[in-house]
Structures are given as structure tokens and as C-alpha cells.
């Protein structure tokens, strides 16, 4: 490994060097590999439901011009926004409580695990039977999908906060609530944000799954329709758009994370290469 020691390289560097140092070439490289493998596989062994890369790209742009897609996105995202909002608002405090009160944790642990491992697809029929097909059940499913990630990571985050800081805060008479807000929350923030990112991913999955399996509206409905009609490029075009949305949301979360945890950069061990 090259080291960071020695005089730092001069600030103005050769073009080649700058290119090699930036992220872009690696991103482009992996993308090209990915696209080529996809194209070749689809051409050689593809079937009715496996479009080529090129077809998918075309279909994706086609979809983007289609008002039906935007309508579907709008409907689907209602459940996502509400459901994920609930997951964060409820999950973070619950995670902190569990990290802070070991007794509570010991008793609730089993249920957290159960929530984590229950295949939601299996209980969808039961969910439908109990709360019906409306927005509520979609919201519930999104929340159930994402909240465990938030809780588990928040809890771990709290556990890794330096206990000396809690002592310090208590010595200044911080109430339990203040300890939460001032020490546990910021100290656990990097881990919490990881949980939020994971949860966000899961929430998008939940949003689509519920529409696939329960009430085929919006994006899930589009997927089922394109699949039923064997319109593979449109099918995967829709999926690409869903993933793009998820990635966008995750980058927003990352951006927030960087804004919220600037101190993490001075003492983290990440190799800057």
C-alpha cells in the first residue's frame, strides 16, 4: 500500500493522475462491464422475460415520457413516505431505548428477531384479511419492512457511544432526555444513518412487494401488467426506475449523513484512496 506520509503530492497534478484518482473511471468501468455482461447474456441465453440491456434502456426512456408511470410513482410513494416516516420516527427512539436499557432489551429481543425473520409475503393474506386493501395496509407493510433495520442499527449505535460521555453529561445534571438528545443520538448517529439507509432500501422493497402481492396498483401493478404481457423491456424499465428512485433517496440520506456527522471525517479510518 502506498502511504500518506512524506510530502503530499503537489496540488496540481497531471490529467491522467487526476482521472485515476477520481471515482468516475471506476464507476464507468463497472457500469460498462455490467452492461456488456447483461447484453451478452440476454442475447445468448435470454428468454421471454429477459430483455437485453439496450431494449431496457430504450424502454426506460419510453416510460419516463409516459404520464401513467408518474401517476404510479405518485401513488406508490404515498405509502413509502408515510410508512418510512413512521419507521424512522418510531424506530430510532425504540432502538435507543433498547440500547440504553438492557433489561428491556433482553425481554424485547425475541420479538425484534421475530419481526426480522418473519417472511412478510406469507402474512400478506392475513394482513389483507385484517386491515383490507387501502393505503393503511400498504403503509403498515412498508413500516414493518423497514423498521427493524432502523431499530437494530440504532441500538448498536447507542451501544458504541463512549460511556465516558454519558458520565460527563450526567455530571452536568443532564436529564435522561437530555442524555438522549445530546449524547446518545449524536454519538449513535453514524450507525443510525446506516440503519436509515438500509431501512430506506427495505422500504422501497416493501412498497413494491405489497403492490405485487396484495393490491396491484401503481408501480406493482405496472410490473404485473408488463410481466403478464411479457413486455420484458418495459418490465425491467419499470424496475430500473424504481431502483433509480431508491438510489436517489439513499444518496439524499448519505448527503444528510455527511452534513449531520462532519466530525466522523476527522477520526475515521477510511483510506482516502
Amino acid at each position: 500500500m502506498s502511504t500518506l506520509a512524506g510530502p503530499l503530492p503537489p496540488r496540481r497534478r497531471g490529467l491522467l493522475r487526476r482521472i485515476a484518482d477520481s471515482d468516475r473511471p471506476y464507476q464507468i468501468l463497472t457500469f460498462v462491464v455490467f452492461a456488456v455482461v447483461w447484453e451478452v447474456y440476454a442475447r445468448q441465453w435470454g428468454g421471454l422475460l429477459i430483455p437485453t440491456f439496450g431494449e431496457t434502456v430504450v424502454a426506460t426512456f419510453e416510460l419516463l415520457g409516459d404520464p401513467e408511470l408518474w401517476q404510479a410513482l405518485y401513488v406508490s410513494n404515498q405509502a413509502l413516505v408515510i410508512g418510512f416516516g413512521i419507521a424512522v420516527v418510531v424506530g430510532v427512539p425504540v432502538g435507543i431505548v433498547l440500547g440504553r436499557f438492557p433489561t428491556l432489551e433482553r425481554f424485547s429481543d425475541v420479538y425484534l428477531n421475530i419481526l426480522l425473520v418473519t417472511p412478510m409475503a406469507a402474512i400478506i393474506p392475513l394482513l389483507v384479511m385484517s386491515v383490507g386493501f387501502g393505503l393503511i395496509s400498504r403503509v403498515i407493510l412498508v413500516t414493518v419492512f423497514s423498521i427493524v433495520m432502523v431499530i437494530v442499527n440504532s441500538r448498536t449505535g447507542v451501544r458504541s457511544v463512549d460511556p465516558g460521555l454519558i458520565e460527563m453529561a450526567r455530571s452536568f445534571g443532564a436529564s435522561e432526555r437530555q442524555i438522549w438528545r445530546e449524547i446518545l443520538l449524536p454519538g449513535a448517529l453514524p450507525a443510525i444513518m446506516t440503519g436509515v439507509r438500509l431501512g430506506l432500501g427495505r422500504a422501497v422493497t416493501g412498497m413494491v412487494i405489497v403492490e405485487l402481492l396484495m393490491v396491484s396498483v401503481a408501480l406493482g401493478g405496472l410490473i404485473l401488467e408488463y410481466r403478464g404481457l411479457f413486455q420484458a423491456p418495459l418490465l425491467y424499465g419499470t424496475i430500473v426506475i424504481i431502483l433509480a428512485e431508491a438510489l436517489l433517496l439513499i444518496s439524499v440520506a448519505r448527503w444528510c449523513e455527511r452534513k449531520l456527522t462532519p466530525w466522523a471525517r476527522t477520526n475515521s479510518a477510511k483510506d482516502p484512496r
Binding site: 468516475r24 428468454g47 428477531n113 406469507a122 384479511m129 432500501g201 422493497t205 479510518a269 477510511k270
Partner: protein, 287 residues
């Protein structure tokens, strides 16, 4: 109020870990009672009382349906989770440590984490056929990415001064990874592994529900289709038992690996007194 782990364990050293078991058992028992009562009160097919579900389960076990299915499912689970764990650690550490790896792979890892695996059923089917391969693939899909991301984040939060210290002793990159990064990141990594193992179990069932319909997934699909609440829940009990076993295993490893972790938690004894005077006199272990 005052004091940390040393306080709670002062009189009962070594009792800490066995104590976990009864806690789980107790809360499960409470949950069971609540379920039974709720089930009786609600009296709806979607919430049959626990007794009915257990009876159904006994029935299913008696007919040999479950045991046979379970074996094959568990093998799929083990293979899939093993692959995921290896991927999770290797790719996760690489992404956490090297910015360029993260740049190259980040998008795909997040995309695949987010993707509802169901929609990839045709791809698995096309790539891996309708047998074990597809189901193992689904298990990997479900569990690997979450572990990769958690591991990467964990690695990124390792305190820089420890890495500096190790490098000052000439630690090689490999040694920094193995001796500093992994132990320091262990708590967060294990949190991810725990999520991963749970997801793997879900993947196993979903693979059996949404690609080729076999094993437990088949039983649960059929029960769901009949709105046989008791049947669905009976299978879920089995799945949850399997998963809890797997998670417990991970947690046991976790506890071994992260024993050093200081407590940020409040002590289990909620007394506001620093400790009743003299209460621990005998436990002090004065020579």
C-alpha cells in the same frame, strides 16, 4: 442509577449470559398468553388463538409434512448464508476501506439491496434453473447486501488513531484489516450479520414461495391461498423457530466477539441510590 456493568454483575459474576435465556423465554410466554387471549376475543380467521395454531402444527408434524421439507430448506439456508457471509465480509470490508471499490460497487449493492427480489425471479430462474440453485440465489440476494453495507459502514467508523498506531508498528494492510479494523468494527458488523441471517431465512421461504413451489414455502403458499390462518401461522412458527435458532447462534458469536464493549446502557438495577450501603459488602471479595 450509578455504576455500570461492574455493579450489576458484582454479586453474580458469570451469570450474565445464562440470564438472557429466561428473559427470552419469559417474554415469549407472555406473548403466547396475549396471543391466545387476543385470538379468542377477536375470533377471526386471521388471528386464530395460539392453541389452534399449535394443534395445527402438531397435526402437520404428525403427518411428516414438515420434517421432510425442513431438511432441504435448511441446507439451502446454510449454503446461501455461507456465501452471503463471505461476500458480506469481503466486499463490505473492501468497500469500507477503499473509496474506489465503494465508488465502483456502491450503486449496485444499494440497488440490489433495494430491489424487490421477487421481480428477479425470472432471472434467477433463467440463470439457475428451478432447483436448489435458484433458492440459494434468492437467499444470497436477500442476505448478502445488507451485510455488505453494514460491514462497509462499520469499517468506516473505526477510530483513525488505532489504524495510525498499527501502521506505526509496520502493520501490513492485511494486518490492519484483520487486527484492527475487524475487531474494532465487530459490534456493527455483527449487527449486520444478525440482520443478514434473519433475511436469509426470509429469502429461503420466499424462494420456495415465488420460484419453485416446494418445501415449507409450498405449504405456506397453499395455506395462504386457502386463507387458512392457523396453517400459515403454524408454518410461520416453524420458520421463526428456525430463524431464532440461527439468530441465537449469531448472537452467541457476537457476545464472544464483543465482550470488551463498554456499557453505555443504564445498569439493570434501577435504584437511584448509588447502591444500598453494605448491600454488596460480602460480594466485594476482600482478601
Amino acid at each position: 442509577m450509578v455504576g455500570g456493568r461492574q455493579l450489576t454483575s458484582a454479586g453474580t459474576p458469570g451469570l450474565l449470559s445464562p440470564r438472557r435465556l429466561p428473559a427470552g423465554a419469559i417474554s415469549l410466554a407472555v406473548g403466547a398468553v396475549v396471543w391466545e387471549i387476543a385470538g379468542r376475543i377477536v375470533d377471526q380467521p386471521f388471528l386464530p388463538p395460539l392453541s389452534a395454531v399449535v394443534a395445527r402444527l402438531a397435526d402437520m408434524v404428525g403427518s411428516g409434512m414438515i420434517v421432510g421439507s425442513l431438511g432441504a430448506s435448511l441446507v439451502n439456508l446454510a449454503i446461501g448464508f455461507g456465501v452471503s457471509l463471505a461476500l458480506g465480509l469481503v466486499v463490505g470490508v473492501a468497500m469500507g476501506r477503499y473509496r474506489k471499490v465503494e465508488a465502483a460497487l456502491g450503486v449496485y449493492v444499494y440497488a440490489l439491496l433495494t430491489a424487490p427480489s421477487l421481480v428477479f425471479a425470472p432471472i434467477f430462474f433463467s440463470l439457475l434453473g428451478d432447483g436448489r440453485g435458484s433458492i440459494v440465489g434468492v437467499v444470497v440476494m436477500y442476505s448478502a447486501f445488507i451485510m455488505i453495507i453494514n460491514t462497509a459502514s462499520a469499517i468506516q467508523t473505526v477510530p483513525g488513531h488505532l489504524v495510525e498506531m498499527a501502521r506505526s508498528y509496520g502493520a501490513s494492510e492485511r494486518q490492519v484489516l484483520l487486527q484492527i479494523m475487524l475487531p474494532a468494527a465487530a459490534p456493527l458488523i455483527m449487527a449486520g450479520v444478525r440482520l443478514g441471517v434473519g433475511r436469509a431465512v426470509v429469502g429461503m421461504i420466499n424462494g420456495e414461495m415465488f420460484i419453485s413451489v416446494i418445501g415449507l414455502g409450498r405449504i405456506v403458499t397453499q395455506a395462504g391461498g386457502r386463507f387458512d390462518g392457523a396453517g400459515v401461522l403454524a408454518i410461520l412458527l416453524v420458520i421463526i423457530a428456525v430463524a431464532l435458532g440461527a439468530v441465537a447462534l449469531v448472537q452467541a458469536v457476537d457476545r464472544r466477539l464483543t465482550r470488551w464493549l463498554p456499557t453505555t446502557s443504564r445498569p439493570a438495577t434501577p435504584s437511584r441510590r448509588p447502591v444500598p450501603a453494605g448491600a454488596r459488602k460480602t460480594s466485594g471479595g476482600k482478601p
